[in-house]
Subunit: 399 residues, 2 copies
């Protein structure tokens, strides 16, 4: 199917066009992917010279869009394109070095899940990154949380530097806040992406510090995935993400509802979900949002797509943390892929969207395997165990 | 066998009645379950219009009761009825969100076992509970214990808020006590059941705080399982549970002996164990007691039943913690099941009893599997590993 786009006459073939109207989900998936990734199949509205499509084709595509607005992403193909091959000559930036900002007195599991998931998804690099110790997953959390998170796994680098109100006197606030930012800033340049939110909690002083960290990451052009209590933070401080094309938000049903209420001043419209999501992204400006649910709907304000591969009937807490960690790695890879890709690509391809698509699929696959094995007693740790195999299945190491 | 109750003539068949006198344990099990759960087979003494039984039948059942007072519960059927199916559209309240109140300087394993068992038994919800982070198992313990318990598993939410006498000066007692209650109260509404006792210890200040927590839970109509040192607490403060139809006590041999001595002012009578247990429940009023032993005898003062499925010859410490955590989840499910069940049920069905029956069976099954695999070296952790499979065996995920 994919090759039709290279066949000049295929599009004009009435029989083929007829098939397009009745196009299968598989065909639509490839269509989306082709428009996203392939240099040849880009359906530009004003480009009548492209041999692969005609304006009438594009109009048909748009008409399909109106009646069935959400294309299913060809998520497997996305994963295969952006996942770096495991060869020896790998480039810096293909590491997907991640920092998780989260972990406080109450919550130690969430930042661990996010960081260890990123590690599992990651593949290590050439000796380039051995210089940097190939320390791929970092966590920045409070002192209370650090000891515990370190004890979950010796594979993580854990920085006990965040503070909550109860451990800081009023007089110290400004100096402590400043110290925290300085400490994080020392490390920030190394990261290909940060995740803000897993196990962050809602302490006001801590969130102030995290706001500073987010501004710094933005200035340094470091992509930022915002999840959990990070969403609580930005919903009340939209300027932290407004206009940031490197920001990804991953709200669940309730976090999304709060965002819609705050930004669009209305209730969630489930019948026109994809339109509303697109509008939300446009209103905030630049960002990518993955609205999590039975299907994950993803938009950057320009394109909207979904991943609805069935994962598992059991939704356990912690799945969102696996997702945020995975999305961070995939978004880093996608960004690197597009920056270094030798083929000219459709300029509208958004690496943040590709990261979301890939992360969504991987979690669903891993959850499916985990449920098959553990059924009712599937917990987050079980799903993490299957991240490697799931990525391997989509993307064999030989690829 | 089960369908006999729907066959109007079966009961009157002399041959059948004869068989009833000589009724097999299997038949009596079904009888108990039918009386408990089925809308059609409820044997109400004054209901002569029921086609499934006649008053004489009921009298016969009672006569059987006098000569052989303890029905074996059809525990598998109970588990199947109350365990929520794993379909995608699930409701709040079916989560079985549990809090364990326990864990002090000395004891960190017990609260961990209880909380992780609850998690393993649990199945999660629709995206509804993703709001609350689907954080299903909480532990409220001392600061000392919290770090360690958190390190046992990232899946638990652990609150380091209880205090023991040695860490509180006299002058501070009232304010600390008040702070602890406020902190727990913030979270209490989320829980479907709490477990008081695993690893609680006997520090007087800590137990005072826990008394306040229990009173708060009672006011909020949150079912409470009392085990371990929680039983020490309530044996000396019966008002904490008197008349509370949402309280479940799970005493072992020694804890039961102390209760009988305290409440009935006599020694344990093993020959009339079920009668004495029933009397004990009636004296305290409202509560359900599971007297643990070779057979677990369960009563709420109105009904008495037992679960005697063979588990394992090896009884290891920690089994009681697995039990209390599991009972908490099953009792939540049973309560929700009865509140939302579309069939009118026998009003005398007690969800707390159903929770005990289910928890007892599951532990026995899991212990049996664990012993088969590990023989003499079976420890608590081994049994916990089999909770999921044991529930799956009784209650396949497709059900």
């Amino acid at each position: 199917m994919r090759n039709h786009s290279h066949c000049p006459h295929a599009w004009r073939n009435p029989q083929h066009r007829g098939r397009m109207w009745a196009a299968s989900p598989a065909f639509r998936r490839r269509l989306f992917l082709l428009r996203s990734l392939s240099p040849c199949a880009a359906a530009l509205p004003n480009n009548t010279s492209s041999s692969s499509s005609s304006p009438s084709t594009f109009i048909r595509l748009n008409a399909m869009a109106a009646s069935d607005p959400v294309y299913e992403a060809d998520a497997e193909a996305v994963v295969r394109r952006i996942t770096p091959p495991l060869d020896r000559a790998r480039h810096k930036g293909q590491a997907g070095k991640i920092a998780v900002i989260g972990g406080c007195r109450e919550y130690t599991g969430a930042p661990y899940f996010a960081a260890i998931s990123a590690l599992k998804v990651n593949s290590t690099n050439s000796s380039h990154d051995v210089i940097q110790g190939a320390d791929l997953s970092h966590v920045f959390c409070t002192r209370d949380a650090a000891t515990v998170i370190k004890s979950y796994s010796p594979e993580l680098i854990v920085h006990p530097i965040l503070e909550e109100s109860y451990s800081v006197s009023d007089g110290e606030r400004e100096s402590v806040s400043s110290r925290i930012l300085t400490e994080v800033a020392k490390w920030m340049e190394r990261f290909d992406c940060i995740v803000v939110g897993p196990g962050l909690g809602r302490d006001s002083f801590l969130l102030d510090c995290v706001s500073n960290i987010m501004r710094h990451a933005r200035q340094a052009n470091i992509p930022t995935v915002v999840d959990g209590d990070g969403l609580f933070l930005i919903t009340n401080n939209l300027s932290l993400v407004e206009g940031n094309s490197l920001a990804i938000l991953t709200p669940n049903v309730y976090e999304y509802k709060r965002l819609v209420q705050k930004v669009l001043n209305c209730e969630v419209n489930e019948e026109n979900a994809s339109e509303q999501l697109t509008a939300l992204c446009q209103k905030i400006g630049g960002i990518t949002i993955m609205q999590k649910g039975k299907a994950d709907i993803i938009s950057d304000g320009k394109t909207v797509t979904q991943v609805s591969t069935f994962g598992s009937p059991r939704r356990c807490g912690g799945q969102g943390d696996i997702l945020s960690g995975s999305v961070a790695v995939f978004a880093s890879w996608a960004r690197h892929f597009l920056l270094t890709n030798e083929y000219p690509t459709d300029k509208s391809v958004n690496p943040m969207m590709l990261g979301c698509i890939a992360g969504s699929l991987l979690l669903r696959k891993a959850a499916s395997h985990a449920f098959e094995k553990n059924k009712r007693s599937t917990i987050t740790t079980d799903i993490i165990e299957f991240l490697g195999k799931s990525l391997e299945d989509i993307c064999p190491a030989g690829h």
